[in-house]
C-alpha cells in the first residue's frame, strides 16, 4: 500500500493522473479474459524464477542467479531438441525439460559450491554467473549452433512446430503455467512436509546447531541450489518450447531479476509465490498499455518494482518493532 502511494506520487510528478494509471494497469492486467491470459503467461516463468531465490532463502542464502539459470536451461533444452530431430514430440519435450533442468541446476550449483567450499559470497558469484551465462549463450548462438537463416538476430535452429508445447484447450495459455504452479506446490511440500525440508530450515536458522545435530549442511546447500536452478532451467525450457521455439538472446528477458522480487514479497514461501507472481505478471503485462495510454516509458514498471522492493525491505524492520511491542505488552 505504501508503495502504491509512493508510486502514485511518482507517476503524478511525471505528469500523469495516478488514479487513471492504476485503472489502466488494472484493465491491462485483469480487466478482460485476454489480459488475464497475458498476465498468466508472464506469471508462469516468474513462479519458477522466484523459486530460484526462495529455496536457497530457506538456508539463508541470497541467490540472484535466476537469470543465468533461465538462460542456461533454455540453451540446453534447445540444443537437446536439435540433437534428436526424428524422435517423437513427447520424448523430445521430456528430454528438453530434463536437460533444461539439469543445465539450470548445475549452473546455480556452481554458486552454491563456491559458497560452501571457498566461502565466496553467493550473491555476487550468482550475479556474475548471470553475465557469463549470457555470454555463453551469445557465443553459441552466433557460432556453433547458429541458424544461417537468422540474419539480424542470431538464434539456434527452430526446434520444429511439432515439438512446441501447445496451449491449454480453450485458451491461449500454454502449459508452462501449470509447470509453474505444480513446481511451487512441490517446493512447498518439499520444504514444509519432508525431513529434507526440515533439515534445511534448521540449517538456515542456525548453521552451528545443524552441524552439531549431524546434518550435512554442505550437501544441503548443493542440493537446494540444484533444485532451485532446476526450476529456473525449467522456466528457460518453457520459454524456448512454448514461446520462441529457438534459443536466442530473448531468453534474457529479466524474468530472473523480477523473480527475486517475487520471492522477497512472498517471503520465500512457495505457496505465496503463486499469487505474487500473478500480481507482478499483471504489472508487467500492463507496461505496454501504460506506454500507449499515458505516454509513460516502459521503464515505469521497473521503477515500480524498485519501489515495491524497497518498501518490502523497509517493512521488515517494522515487523520487528511490532513484535517487540507485543512482547512488552504481554
Amino acid at each position: 500500500m505504501v508503495s502504491m502511494v509512493l508510486f502514485g506520487i511518482f507517476v503524478a510528478s511525471a505528469g500523469a493522473d495516478p488514479f487513471e494509471v492504476y485503472q489502466t494497469m488494472y484493465r491491462a492486467a485483469f480487466g478482460t479474459s485476454f489480459s488475464w491470459q497475458n498476465t498468466l503467461i508472464r506469471a508462469a516463468p516468474l513462479m519458477l524464477t522466484a523459486l530460484c531465490t526462495a529455496l536457497p532463502g530457506y538456508l539463508g542464502l541470497i541467490i540472484i542467479g535466476g537469470e543465468g539459470a533461465v538462460v542456461m536451461g533454455g540453451l540446453f533444452a534447445a540444443i537437446a531438441a536439435l540433437t534428436m530431430p526424428t524422435a517423437p514430440p513427447m520424448v523430445v519435450l521430456t528430454t528438453m525439460a530434463l536437460v533444461g533442468m539439469v543445465g539450470g541446476g548445475l549452473w546455480l550449483t556452481i554458486g552454491g559450491a563456491l559458497r560452501h567450499y571457498r566461502a565466496v559470497n553467493e550473491t555476487i558469484s550468482s550475479l556474475l554467473l548471470n553475465y557469463i551465462a549470457i555470454a555463453v549463450l551469445n557465443h553459441l548462438v552466433t557460432s556453433t549452433f547458429r541458424d544461417p537463416e537468422s540474419l539480424n538476430h542470431p538464434s539456434t535452429h527452430h526446434i520444429g512446430e511439432a515439438n512446441m508445447i501447445g496451449a491449454i484447450p480453450g485458451t491461449d495459455l500454454h502449459w508452462g503455467l501449470v509447470f509453474g504452479v505444480v513446481a511451487c506446490i512441490i517446493a512447498w511440500f518439499l520444504m514444509h512436509h519432508t525431513v529434507f525440508g526440515f533439515a534445511s530450515q534448521v540449517a538456515g536458522g542456525n548453521v552451528r546447531a545443524a552441524q552439531i545435530a549431524g546434518l550435512p549442511v554442505g550437501r544441503l546447500i548443493l542440493i537446494i541450489c540444484f533444485v532451485a536452478g532446476a526450476a529456473g532451467g525449467l522456466a528457460g525450457m518453457v520459454e524456448v518450447a512454448a514461446i520462441h521455439g529457438r534459443a536466442n538472446d530473448t531468453l534474457n528477458a529479466n524474468y530472473g531479476y523480477a523473480g527475486i522480487l517475487v520471492a522477497f514479497v512472498a517471503r520465500n514461501n512457495p505457496l505465496a509465490i503463486i499469487p505474487v507472481a500473478i500480481l507482478l505478471g499483471g504489472i508487467r503485462a500492463s507496461s505496454g498499455l501504460l506506454q500507449r495510454a499515458h505516454e509513460l516509458p516502459d521503464a515505469t514498471v521497473l521503477v515500480m518494482q524498485g519501489i515495491i522492493f524497497l518498501v518490502i525491505l523497509f517493512s521488515e524492520t517494522l515487523y520487528g518493532r511490532f513484535s517487540k511491542l507485543q512482547k512488552q505488552g504481554a
Binding site: R118, L128, H139, P297, G306, E316
Partner: protein, 305 residues
Amino acid sequence: MEIGWWGVLIAVLGGAIRIGTPFLFVSLGECLTEKSGRINLGLEGTLVMGAMTGYAVSLHSGSPWLGVLCAGLAGMVLGALHSWLCSFKRVNDIAVGIAMMLFGTGLAFFLGKPYIQPSAPRLPSIDLGAWSDIPQLKAALQINALFLMGIVVAIALAWMLKNTAWGLKVRVVGESADAARALGLPVDRIRILSTAQGGFLAGIGGSYLSLYYPFNWSEGLSSGQGLMAVALVIFARWHPVGCLWVSLLWGGAAALGPSLQSVGITGGYYIFNAIPYIMTLAVMIITCSPKRTLVGVPHELTVTR
C-alpha cells in the same frame, strides 16, 4: 606503418586506461563504503543513474563538467538512501543493494528515455601522445582528465583513511561497530556519510561512461561494472591505490577482445567480452577461503558475521 601485434598491446594499454576509469571510480566508492562496514551492491544502479544524470545535465547546460558534478550528486543521494535504509534493524544491506540496483536502473531508464537520441557535449581529453607519430599510440594516449583526477582521489583517499581522524573513525566503524559505539562514535551517521561519498564517486564513474567513453546514453551502458567493483575491492585488499592497479587490469582485460579483433581474430567475441566477469569470479574463488580472513578486510564484513 604496420605495427601488427604491437598494436594489440598498445590497444590493450590504452583500453586499460579508457575502460578502466569507471572501474576506478566505482571501486574507490565501494572501497570507502566497505571500509565503513557496508556493502553497496546498489552502486550498479548508481552508475547508470550517474551516467543518465551526467548526460542530461551536460546536454541542457552545455557544460560536461557540470554534468559530472550533478552525476556525483545524484549518486550521493542514492548512496545516502541505501545507507539510510540499511541503518534500520533487520535490514540486509545486500538485499537493499539489489533493490537499489533495480530502482536506480529503472529510474535512470525512465528519466533517460528522451536522451537516447541527442548528443551532449563530450568531456575533453588530454593528448599525451602528441610526441609520437604512430596513430594507434596517439589514440591510446588520449587520456581523459577524469582518469588523472581518479589517481589523485585514490591517493588522497588512501592518505585520508590512514592519517586523518575522519579516516580513523571510518575504519573503527568498519572494524567493529560495538567498539565504535563504546567510543561514543555515531556509527550510523559515519556509515551514511561514507556510503554517500562512495555513491558520489560511483556517480562520477557513471558520468564518465556517458560523457567520454563509450560516449552515449543507452540502457545497456553499465553491464555489471558496479557489481564487479565489489570483487575489485577484495582483489585490491581494501586499499584505494590497489583499486587503481586493479581497475587498470580490468580495463585491459575488457579491451583484449576488441583489440584482438583489430588484428583479425574475430572468433569468440562474446567470450572475450565475458573475460572481466570470469576474471572477477576467478579472483573471488582464489582469494576467498572459509578458513582464513584476508589482510585488510574490515571485520564487520567477514562471513561469520
